[in-house]
């Protein structure tokens, strides 16, 4: 029964993708039938969600593996299409399918009238299918297939409106940057297979002890590099902000709630191995902290609402990597869950706003305005939307407070747990963890500031678009606001699955008990095994600091931006001087990447053939290519077109074959 459910969970989204993709491809008449397509597309995700809920409720604590079939068995390598149901995959499955269902519903309204409506749902379903492969896989090969699959869907969806060259470029950038991480993944797989002779998780994790420390370090380092690609960390995070070129539901689903967290999932799944490489863990913590800080500072300066959220996502992912770095894997997953709620909500809210601003743009065009420079995503043209879009406003505010870490909302619990774990790791003898904690507190402050800024600039103050208020946006349809409300509730209560240790001595921290190995779960936990625990007073102090910076940041930014509006950005620029300048140009990282990586690759590929003498490598490559083509032309000369020449060649061939047979 359960195995059958697993099959259905995996295959239904695929069936949905085929039905909504291939059938309209051949029957163009169906393409415009939005109700049919959206019903199929949404059910293909909603039904598996129900099944996962059932599995979750009836789960008895024993992981089980559902094997579809043995895919290939060549020599030592035997790869099954096998899926693993345990606490970790159930949590991820609930998030992916739950948020996925809501976003499918939201897309019905958001994509209404788009020519590619059917394609969009097909891609979304395909993405869910690939993502399920990723999180439910029982071995690295199937996980890798899912990993590549979500990458492909991400590529397709970023470039969904491919007629705009900018979008195609963003899609290509995401694709190329991710290849670097994928290459590391492949290397890690080869390495582990060579050392352990298998790629299913039982073999891998039980075999950690038999590996030399160099091997473990290499493997974890490669896996981490793979994770930095997918989860947008330094040095591979540059693709995510550009990825916002895709439709907003895509940003919410793929680039906030699910796909970008798969790097975290990978590390949590491999937690036993990661713990065996303490050196890499320090690196992970540092990279996570740096990414969180860098992205948060950039977010303060952005004026495009989706870009603010994109950098915020990068920053929050940095928090999760901090948790992994200090060995608190279950907390990383905890933050994955709460982040999925409030960040998806923020993106969907921004989508609702953009929807409204497009309406404004359309009306302006109708009135004869030149709208070529009008940008529906630019917060500088928004303002006071609370008067026009009440539902969007309230839900966006809830999400803002949640991500800022205002006490008793979901973000507060998970972020506080991360900071607490970092501090505790320092207390337990990992000096760098104190620094990580300090950076985390600073980032939390910045988070509260930039999110409040985004909220205030968008929803409060004066209307800043032309001809306001005679031209005004309207609230989005129910299919869009319903998911907003649902997510808003989750963003409020989602944190209560992980109450902090000061309450009931940690016994009410449900997610800890559910996931951690000490309580029979799949995720290893350094904090438990280390044994030290902070004094209770110190714990309360840490919570107070965490909550305090959030309240401080929100109130400061609220007062400043509500009073001065956009002018406060200029004040900041003046005050902070060059520092703000550096943030504003995003540390020139895009330019550095272009100069160091993208341009050389493009030049070698594009112009290299024209400039044979550009470098030795070029010369050799060109030489080989030209040589082969020239050789081909020489061989082509033999092909004179005269039958008898052909016959002579054949007789020559007969002589060769006979000589080889008879005399060799």
């Amino acid at each position: 029964m359960d195995a059958l459910l697993v099959r259905l969970i995996i295959l239904l989204p695929l069936a949905g993708a085929i039905l909504t993709g291939l059938v309209p491809l051949f029957m163009p008449g169906l393409r415009k039938n939005e109700s049919l397509i959206s019903t199929i597309g949404t059910l293909a995700v909603a039904v598996p969600f129900g099944m996962v809920v059932y599995l979750f409720l009836t789960f008895d604590g024993n992981a089980f593996v559902a094997t579809f079939y043995t895919w290939m068995a060549a020599g030592d390598l035997s790869v099954d299409f096998a899926y693993r149901i345990d606490q970790l995959s159930l949590i991820m499955g609930l998030v992916v399918l739950g948020v996925g269902t809501l976003i499918h519903v939201y897309s019905i309204g958001y994509m209404h009238g788009d020519d590619g409506f059917w394609k969009f749902f097909s891609y979304l379903n395909l993405f869910i299918f690939a993502m399920l492969n990723l999180i439910l896989a029982d071995n690295l090969v199937v996980l890798f297939l899912g990993w590549e699959g979500v990458g492909l869907c991400s590529f397709l969806l970023i470039g969904f409106w491919y007629t705009d060259l900018k979008n195609s470029a963003a899609a290509n950038k995401a694709f190329i940057v991710n290849r670097i991480g994928d290459f590391a993944f492949l290397l890690a797989m080869f390495l582990l297979f060579r050392e352990l002779g298998g790629l299913d998780f039982d073999t891998l994790l039980n075999g950690v002890d038999t590996l030399s420390s160099t091997t473990v370090t290499m493997a974890v380092l490669l896996l981490f590099l793979a994770a930095t690609g997918k989860s947008a960390q330094i040095p591979l995070f540059v693709w995510l902000p550009d990825a916002m070129a895709g439709p907003t539901p895509v940003s919410a689903l793929i680039h906030a709630a699910t796909m970008v967290t798969s790097g975290l999932y990978l590390l949590a799944r491999m937690s036993d191995m990661v713990l065996a490489a303490p050196g890499v863990m320090v690196l992970i913590a540092i990279v996570g902290a740096l990414t969180a800080l860098v992205a948060a500072t950039i977010a303060i300066t952005q004026t495009d609402i989706k870009r603010v959220l994109a950098y915020s996502t990068v920053s929050q992912l940095g928090f999760m990597f901090m948790a992994v770095g200090v060995g608190a894997f279950f907390v990383a997953i905890f933050h994955v869950v709460t982040h999925a709620f409030f960040k998806a909500l923020l993106f969907l809210g921004s989508g609702s706003v953009i929807h409204g601003m497009h309406e404004v743009e359309h009306d302006l065009e109708h009135e004869g305005h030149d709208t070529s420079s009008f940008d529906a995503q630019d917060m500088r043209t928004m303002g006071n939307l609370k008067a026009y879009m009440p539902a969007t406003h309230i839900t966006f505010l809830i999400a803002t407070l949640a991500i800022a870490g205002i006490p008793l909302l979901s973000g507060f619990f998970s972020k506080d747990e991360i900071l607490f774990m970092a501090f505790q790791a320092g207390y337990n003898g990992m000096p760098v963890a104190y620094a990580v904690w300090a950076v985390g507190i600073l980032t939390a402050l910045l988070t509260a500031v930039y999110m409040t800024r985004a909220y205030v600039l968008t929803f409060r103050g004066e209307e800043r678009w032309p001809e306001a208020p005679s031209i005004a946006p309207h609230e989005s349809p129910l299919s869009m606001t319903l998911p907003l409300w649902t997510l808003a509730i989750l963003a409020i209560v989602g944190g209560y699955i992980g109450l902090p240790g000061v309450i009931a001595d940690g016994d009410w921290n449900w997610i800890h008990h559910y996931l951690a190995q000490d309580y029979g779960g799949p995720v290893a936990d350094l904090a438990d095994s280390a044994g030290f625990s902070l004094p209770l007073a110190l714990k309360w102090l840490l919570i107070a600091i965490g909550g305090g910076v959030a309240i401080l940041g929100v109130s400061l930014a609220w007062v400043a931006y509500d009073r001065e509006g956009l002018a406060f950005d200029d004040r900041l620029r003046e005050r902070l001087g060059p520092l703000y300048g550096v943030w504003e140009v995003k540390y020139r990282l895009d330019e550095v990447y272009d100069a160091a990586l993208v341009n050389p690759i493009r030049d070698i590929m594009g112009q290299g053939f024209a400039k044979a003498d550009a470098s030795v490598v070029d010369g050799v490559v060109n030489g080989a290519a030209r040589g082969a083509a020239a050789f081909g032309r020489v061989l082509g000369r033999i092909q004179t077109g005269v039958i008898q020449r052909y016959a002579v060649m054949m007789v020559l061939g007969v002589v060769i074959v006979m000589a080889l047979i008879l005399f060799v």
């Binding site: 082509g636 000369r637 092909q639 004179t640 077109g641 005269v642 039958i643 008898q644 016959a647 002579v648 007789v651």
Partner: protein
Amino acid sequence: MELTVNWYLALSAILFSIGVMGVLFRSNAIVILLSVELMLNAVNVSIIALAQMMADSTGHILVFFVLAVAAAEAAIGLSLVIALFRTKPTVDVNEFNLLKH
């Protein structure tokens, strides 16, 4: 001098070689067709001689199949030459080199 099977085989080889030479060096399309037929019939000589030597009827059956196939090939070949002649009034195979390289 007794006529052993080797003599037949030698005759067959010589005839086959003549056929090969004809395909390689004659430029008239009809003569090339004839040369191909000669090659097939040269092989027939071998097969009959070997079958006779081994007192096995399979070889004789094979020869009948070869004759039928040769007839079919001749029919196709001649009709192709006619079609070729209609596109360009010559039967010199060197004139037909539109497709090359």
